[in-house]
């Protein structure tokens, strides 16, 4: 198989809303992603960036094309296993009621795996939340909550991480903090990411490649230098 050097491959991916609307949300999106590559997805609001991410972990169903994980059509995989392999962090944290620790062990628990308290503490310390394990998840600040959401996704040890404007709902100070946290996590864990952002500076700083979407179609794809010139 020639495609196995890619972790993720997207071929002619598209989605049309079912009847009666028949609206085309995304069309003919193709790209490949290698280990430790970061692909930034940019484009105006409503361009289909979130739609693309939601197709990549199959929260929505593609109506055109498909996604290949290690060369295998993702529709042949059990969807729960697929979603464990492709983690996601959204614009808001959407933490579950309960403690920070309960949020973090949620993913592994779905596969029947338990995390011991030490593992949780270590993960939290890594994201700058030392001693937060027993805190009430719903009383955290925006930046803290987003760090927990990132930790919660990483606890599943995903092969690909999808980030849907993970810093855009935060104030300026926590935005910089979360961005540099993600940058260092990506470097040290060699994470493979699809990172939706509306900040061209963020795309330039984080990405190996950039995909520009407009009105549901690929406008351009290339290196940050090619796409974000001047």
């Amino acid at each position: 198989m020639n495609s196995t050097r890619y972790i993720l491959e997207c071929r002619n991916l598209g989605r049309e809303l079912p009847s009666p609307q028949h609206r085309l949300l995304l069309r003919n999106v193709s790209f490949t992603l290698q280990q430790a590559e970061v692909l930034a997805v940019i484009g105006p609001s409503g361009a289909g960036k979130s739609t693309l991410l939601r197709l990549l972990n199959r929260l929505n169903e593609p109506t055109q094309g498909s996604v290949y994980l290690h060369g295998r059509d993702y529709r042949e995989m059990p969807v729960l296993q697929l979603r464990r392999c492709i983690g996601m962090v959204m614009q808001r944290a959407y933490l579950f009621p309960g403690t920070v620790s309960e949020n973090i062990v949620f993913g592994p628990a779905q596969q029947g795996k338990t995390m011991n308290p030490q593992q949780v503490d270590d993960l939290l310390a890594r994201v700058g939340l030392e001693g937060y394990a027993s805190r009430d998840a719903l009383t955290l600040s925006g930046g803290e909550a987003q760090r927990v959401a990132i930790t919660r996704a990483l606890a599943n040890e995903p092969e690909v991480l999808l980030l849907d404007e993970p810093t855009s709902a935060l104030d300026e100070v926590s935005r910089d903090g979360v961005q540099s946290l993600l940058a260092s996590l990506i470097r040290e864990r060699r994470l493979t990411c699809v990172w939706v952002t509306h900040s061209l500076d963020q795309a330039r700083a984080m990405a190996n490649r950039v995909l520009a979407l407009r009105a549901g179609e690929v406008e351009a794809i290339g290196t940050p230098g090619e796409i974000l010139h001047a």
Binding site: R58, L59, E61, L80, R84, M90, Y94, Q110, R152, A153
Partner: protein, 260 residues
């Protein structure tokens, strides 16, 4: 007073309906500013309720002369009607009619059947139809409340639900806490009915038994039987709904379909 003016029972009934309707009209007039869109709804509901109950009274009068098992058909018809009323309230949930019909039939049908088999409720039209209709009507209300609450919870927590799915949770796990909330909310009225029995209200059936000249204590005990039966039926129907509902709001690939 009315008894003196209208010695004929049917005429008296008609006048009683008229007076009750006039008072309701007065209330509508009073609330119309605060709830303008309620006026037509209440008016239509009043008219509809009156016509339906007259029709049922006529049918009952007819059935009482025939074999007792025809009560089953009356109750089955009521369950079908109840399911379509639930659909009106919770129509945004896909294929909700069959869901409501299944859970009302399973809940009310099995509990009533058990009660009849054990001899607690006699297989007599004059008792089975009014008691059965109370059980079905309350189960219907419980279903409407369950589905309405569940839908509200889902729409308010789309982000949390999809976060759980994205972490590899099944649809059932992702909505578990919202099912619990709906369960609780929909059964509270049935529980409160039991709790307030006799103190806050003396329900119609007991009133009927007392009015018909039987012992008030027997009327009281039988009322307890009916309210407990209602609770059993409502609880069982919610259980059935909670098992069937997930597959109606998620795709086979565990994608949340309900968005409005």
């Amino acid at each position: 007073m009315l008894e003196r003016w209208f010695p004929n029972q049917m005429e008296r009934g008609a006048v009683q309906c008229l007076i009750a309707a006039l008072i309701a009209a007065l209330v509508i007039l009073l609330v119309r500013r605060r709830a303008p869109n309620l006026v037509t709804e209440v008016f239509v509901a009043e008219l509809r309720g009156l016509l339906q109950i007259i029709a049922v009274g006529t049918i009952l009068a007819f059935l009482l002369r025939g074999p007792q098992w025809t009560a089953i058909f009356v109750l089955a018809g009521m369950a079908i009607a109840a399911a379509s009323i639930v659909r009106k309230r919770a129509g945004k949930i896909p294929r909700v009619y069959t869901l409501a019909l299944a859970s009302i039939t399973a809940g009310a049908g099995s509990i009533l059947g058990l009660m009849i088999a054990l001899g607690v409720i006699p297989m007599r039209i004059s008792i089975l139809v009014p008691v059965g209709s109370m059980v079905i009507a309350n189960t219907m209300n419980t279903q409407s409340m369950f589905l309405d609450r569940f839908r509200g919870e889902i729409l308010a927590h789309i982000g949390e639900i999809e976060s759980a799915l994205a972490l590899g949770a099944t649809a059932d796990t992702a909505v578990g806490r919202y099912l619990q909330a709906a369960f609780r909310a929909s059964l509270i009225p049935s529980i409160d009915n039991l709790r307030s029995l006799g103190i806050v209200w003396i329900p119609g059936l007991m009133a009927g038994i007392v009015l018909s000249g039987q012992s008030p204590l027997y009327g009281a005990l039988y009322q307890f039987v009916v309210l407990t039966t209602i609770f059993s039926s409502a609880g069982l129907s919610c259980l059935v709904t909670s098992y069937l509902i997930t597959r109606r709001v998620f795709s086979p690939q565990d994608q949340l379909l309900l968005r409005g």
